[in-house]
């Protein structure tokens, strides 16, 4: 069996599993979908992790990570994918947001496996800390009062998906294409390792930094190899910082402008006056109306 065929089968099974798990009133097949999804993902990974001959070996694009890290990758990846499925299938927005924090934490774990320490912690602080708290606030502010007698039920628009079948077909078609491209095929070497790709050594980074400060090359070479510099390693944060401020000064300015514009925009949106005629009178009648239309549809 060739690699693309295996990936197509996995995509089709994953699509079926997700369709079964999508929110639908009286959905009894959700556990079956979860089981099928877990089996698909597990089977796919067994084929990927072991040299079973089902997947071409990708010695061409290894990352040079120590062999012990692979278990962490599989754990974090499984958590991230399971939590992501929960985000899009849960009926309560609050729980969707909580599961999204799980996705962020697992993603940060995968960043650590890739030795991107700074990005991992920035992810947790900015996403898990700042953005998700804002989401929580809005969920609390804008939640609809539940209909009397149906307090355990979510509103109708959370209980029904909108064409989950076609969305899953389109999504997993895209996934099949992406996987076919990203998995290496010896006949079609799309992602061979760049022969020049080598992380710059600490001494090189130090020399570049010192040369940039106006020291001439020989002098900075000497400085960079002096014991006080070679004693401590150049950390990931320092590398990212040097790259950010040395090579992308314009992009930093643009990011600052975008943040300023969005700050002003958020203030303008928050202060927009809604004329009383367009304001919704009270949310309870909206719930009653929604119940009516839903009853009419049924």
């Amino acid at each position: 069996m060739s690699t693309p065929l295996l990936l197509y089968i996995a995509s089709v099974l994953g699509a079926i599993a997700l369709v079964l798990m999508m929110p639908r009133p009286g959905n009894r097949l959700a556990p079956l979908g979860a089981l099928l999804g877990a089996a698909t993902l597990g089977g796919c990974w067994l084929a990927v992790a072991f040299n079973t001959g089902l997947i071409h070996d990708f010695s061409a694009n290894t990352l040079g990570l120590p062999a012990t890290t692979f278990i962490y990758f599989y754990i974090f990846s499984a958590i991230a994918i399971a939590a992501a499925v929960r985000v899009i299938t849960h009926r309560r927005p609050v729980y969707s947001a909580l599961w999204f924090i799980m996705v962020v934490l697992a993603g940060a774990g995968m960043f650590l496996v890739l030795s991107a320490d700074f990005m991992a912690f920035a992810m947790i602080i900015i996403y898990g800390g700042a953005i998700l708290v804002t989401y929580m606030f809005v969920i609390m502010l804008a939640s609809q009062p539940l209909e009397p007698g149906q307090e355990d039920q979510a509103p109708a628009y959370d209980r029904f998906g909108r064409d989950p079948l076609w969305a899953c077909v389109a999504g997993f078609l895209l996934l099949a294409v992406l996987l076919t491209v990203s998995f290496d095929n010896p006949d079609r070497p799309t992602m061979l390792a760049n022969p020049d790709a080598k992380m710059a050594s600490d001494a090189e980074v130090l020399r570049d930094t010192l040369t940039g400060r106006g020291l001439d090359a020989e002098n900075s070479d000497e400085l960079a190899s002096s014991p006080q510099f070679t004693a401590d390693r150049v950390s990931n944060v320092e590398r990212v910082g040097l790259d950010l401020f040395n090579k992308h000064p314009l992009a930093i300015e643009l990011a600052g402008v975008i943040l300023l514009v969005s700050l002003i925009g958020a203030v303008v949106i928050a202060k927009t006056h809604i004329p009383p005629g367009e304001q919704h009178p009270d949310p309870e009648s909206a719930a009653a109306k929604a119940a009516q239309t839903q009853g009419g549809a049924a």
Binding site: L18, V48, F50, N51, I55, F58, N61, T62, L63, L65, A67, F73, A84, V87, I88, P93, S96, A97, V103, M110, F111, L114, A116, M119, A122, Y127, A130, I131, Y135, L141, Q144, P155, Y157, D158, F160, R162, D163, A167, G171, L175, L178, L179, N194, A197, K198, M199, V240, D243, L244, K247, I258, L259, I269, A270, Q279, H280, P281, P283, S285, A286
Partner: protein, 106 residues
């Protein structure tokens, strides 16, 4: 044992990243709750960020990680604006259902 295992490659991370991206896409298309839809766009950002960091490691170039900082910047700006809009839309219609705004599609 270790000879049987394939080493962790770029493809592993691209696979996880593309699965996260596609799940976010499906959630964005199917869910009708405005807040959950924006949560799904954040999930698509997660998938892209993972691919960027994996490529940074693969090519031995930190610029991929630097770009994730800009992705985070855009995500923060987007969350601030989108959530402000969601609160305003909720005050007008009293519901978070996107289909309450179907007249906007023309």
């Amino acid at each position: 044992m270790n000879e049987m295992l394939t080493p962790l490659g770029l493809s592993h991370f691209l696979m996880t990243g593309s699965i996260l991206f596609v799940l976010g896409l499906i959630g964005f298309v199917t869910r009708r709750n405005l807040i959950v839809m924006f949560l799904c766009t954040e999930m698509m950002f997660q998938g892209v960020a993972l691919a960027l960091v994996a490529f940074a490691k693969f090519h031995g170039n930190v610029t991929g990680q630097t770009f994730v900082i800009f992705v985070l910047t855009i995500a923060a700006a987007e969350a601030a604006l989108a959530l402000g809009l969601v609160v305003m839309l909720f005050r007008r219609r009293g519901t978070l259902d996107v289909e309450a705004w179907q007249t906007m599609s023309g």
